[in-house]
């Protein structure tokens, strides 16, 4: 995918200049908040509670030490990792099965299934916040499985939220994997699942990575459901980060340091996997 398109003609000057100016402005727009976040996280408190200054009066790593004791950040971190990790794994597995069925088989109800699943992406989250909460509580009362307040409930929720996109992406990607490959595997004596895992899945790795990244990011960043469905022990970062602003003084340097710390895993993962992501989208979603 990195094979760059090179125009047969050298681009004209007007284009080059426009491009230069545009990209400079855009980089500035993108970078300023990132710079503010990084620099403020290294400033002493008096720098961030007074008039804004571009350059810190002194550098300190104090905020990075304090954030762990001001709120139980480590615990929130672990919660977020478990919730986002499990939701991602679940979403990928469920989506692979479903997409394989839709991509490779024709069966009654296929259209109803895809359309219904995909249209759930239109639902405003607020519509089923309270109902879902009630449902979890009732399931808990009836079966003893604690969904509400537990990580399990949140995992199920996020897993399902990301399914429609994941299924849609993977149908597109599986469709692009030549059918002859799995037929050959079937001839070789693999069952349909063997064909799926030995042939189709390996060929669809970029698509699967793209789906996984999307699912992880969604679960990592969600605020609304996390604020209602978690308690002290299961609180995720999205909610826990607000703990810094409940203090009497607003420790902006700590807030910025904590924001940065919680962003690093997703941003690093995302940027490392961006090649897969573009490849996955190219072959799957936008084809």
């Amino acid at each position: 995918m990195s094979d760059t398109y090179r125009s047969p003609m050298a681009p004209p000057r007007s284009f080059l200049w426009t491009r230069r100016i545009f990209l400079t402005l855009l980089s500035g727009f993108v970078l300023v908040p990132v710079y503010v976040m990084v620099s403020s996280s290294l400033k002493p408190l008096q720098d961030v509670s007074g008039t804004f200054r571009w350059l810190p009066s002194g550098l300190t790593i104090r905020p990075y030490i304090d954030i762990w004791s001001t709120v139980p950040l480590a615990q929130y971190f672990v919660n977020s990792l478990i919730v986002a990790g499990a939701a991602t794994a679940g979403s990928v597995v469920v989506a692979v099965f479903a997409s394989y069925a839709v991509s490779r088989y024709s069966f009654r109800g296929k259209r109803v299934f895809t359309v219904t699943v995909l249209s759930t992406q239109m639902f405003p989250g607020i519509l089923f916040l309270l109902p879902l909460f009630l449902l979890y509580v009732n399931i808990g009362n009836a079966t003893g499985i604690a969904l509400f307040g537990s990580r399990g409930g949140l995992i199920l929720t996020y897993l399902t939220f990301t399914l429609p996109f994941s299924i849609w992406m993977l149908i597109g990607y599986f469709d692009s994997v030549p059918r002859d490959l799995d037929e050959a595997a079937l001839v070789d004596g693999c069952g349909p699942l063997g064909a799926l895992f030995r042939v189709v899945v390996p060929a669809a790795i970029p698509g699967i990575v793209a789906v996984a990244v999307y699912a992880f990011m969604t679960a990592w960043g969600e605020v609304l459901f996390a604020s209602v469905m978690t308690n002290d022990t299961t609180r995720t970062l999205a909610v826990g980060l607000q703990g810094y602003s409940t203090l009497n003084d607003v420790y902006w340097n700590q807030i910025m340091a904590a924001s940065l710390v919680v962003s690093v895993p997703v941003v690093a993962g995302f940027l490392l996997l961006q090649r897969y992501l573009v490849a996955g989208l190219t072959a799957g979603a936008v084809k």
């Binding site: 808990g140 409940t246 009497n248």
Partner: protein, 438 residues
Amino acid sequence: MRSIRAAAVGAVTLSLALTVSACGGGTPTGGGSNDSPKTLTYWASNQGAGIEIDKKVLQPELDKFEKQTGIKVKLEVVPWNDLLNRILTATTSGQGPDVLNIGNTWSASLQATGALLPWDEKNFAAIGGKDRFVDSALGSTGAPGKDPAAVPLYSMAYGLYYNKKIFAEAGISEPPATWAELIADGKKIQAQGKQALGAEGASLNENVHHVFVFAKQHGADFFTADGKPDFTSDKVVAAVKQYVDLMAEDKVVPPGNAEYAQNQSVSDFAKGRTAMLLWQTASANLKSQGMNPDDYGVAPVPVQSGTPGSGTRINSMVAGVNVAVFNNTHNLDGAKQFVKFLTSDEEQKILNKAFSSIPPVKSAQADPAFNTPETAVLKNTLATSAAALPQVPSESQFETTVGTAVKELFADAAAGRAVTTESVKAKLLKAQQQMPAK
């Protein structure tokens, strides 16, 4: 259009599901039980300088309770931002804590949901009787004529905090006793290049607390005697306008305060940027921000004229936190025991000292720790010149709608737009129309 046809099929399937599923939900249980006598869950409100600090204060006390009774208390300190939502969802689902803290102004609203154990004579007797508590605190535990929905735990009142050094620099010898004096002093302070008065302009709660007091001083109420909202009477409008005018007209509140909602005004005061602050029991708060107790004084909140008292000389709301028992508790006896523990003289002293609040229990108030100059002022305010916010079921909505109206008026004032009697009345009318019809 294939997809549309398919969507139609999907919609039909859904509506089928709708008719089929007769939708179970809600909570069948009525009163509490004693199914799990050895554990309790306690939701504490955030009283100290941070969640973690509260935990450190409360945990040793809970351990003490466990030693006394063998009941283990699971503590969760819930931020104010989330507390009401958490209580609401707990109410809807029946899954919640056994014992919880509520803002005392929510008492009547939560009472109406039936989620909280009513404190009748018998229940009160179990914790030592109603007489142990101060009257003003009991006035904020539920609608009049009904059994209280909660028991007073921490009491607070508003005071005028002023920076002694700035006052001296501006040549002010005594804290202002009336609003006119406050404005005049404010001008002197501003002449010294300092900010006069801080306000939390985007905080709905703070706004409501202040305009409630101003309304009292104008001899008006936000609710009629039979509990109907009445936000647009001339007196209420004048009261709200007087508060917003501190920024709009008198300009003693800096415009930047219009967007404050995270206690920035307290920080400003602690850092010596503003000379005055109207706050409830701020000392622990100021101390955690490194302000020396000798650097500030506390005076009663100003009145229109004369000295604070009852009627139009009210100068604070009855602020505080109540403790309630959730009706769905599985440890009813344990929950009552725990409330008794929290309201015992000893715990009242320990906890109220730690949170710099005032014990609503008479015998605990006698402790010398609550006779410092600051606490004396606040205690006196509570006893003589504080009024409870309206104890009506729609109190919670009142805080939201009127708080929002004042926030928007502050935003207008900050942007330099005129705040007139008409504009105040229009905002309040809108607020009143958004109150529940029933």
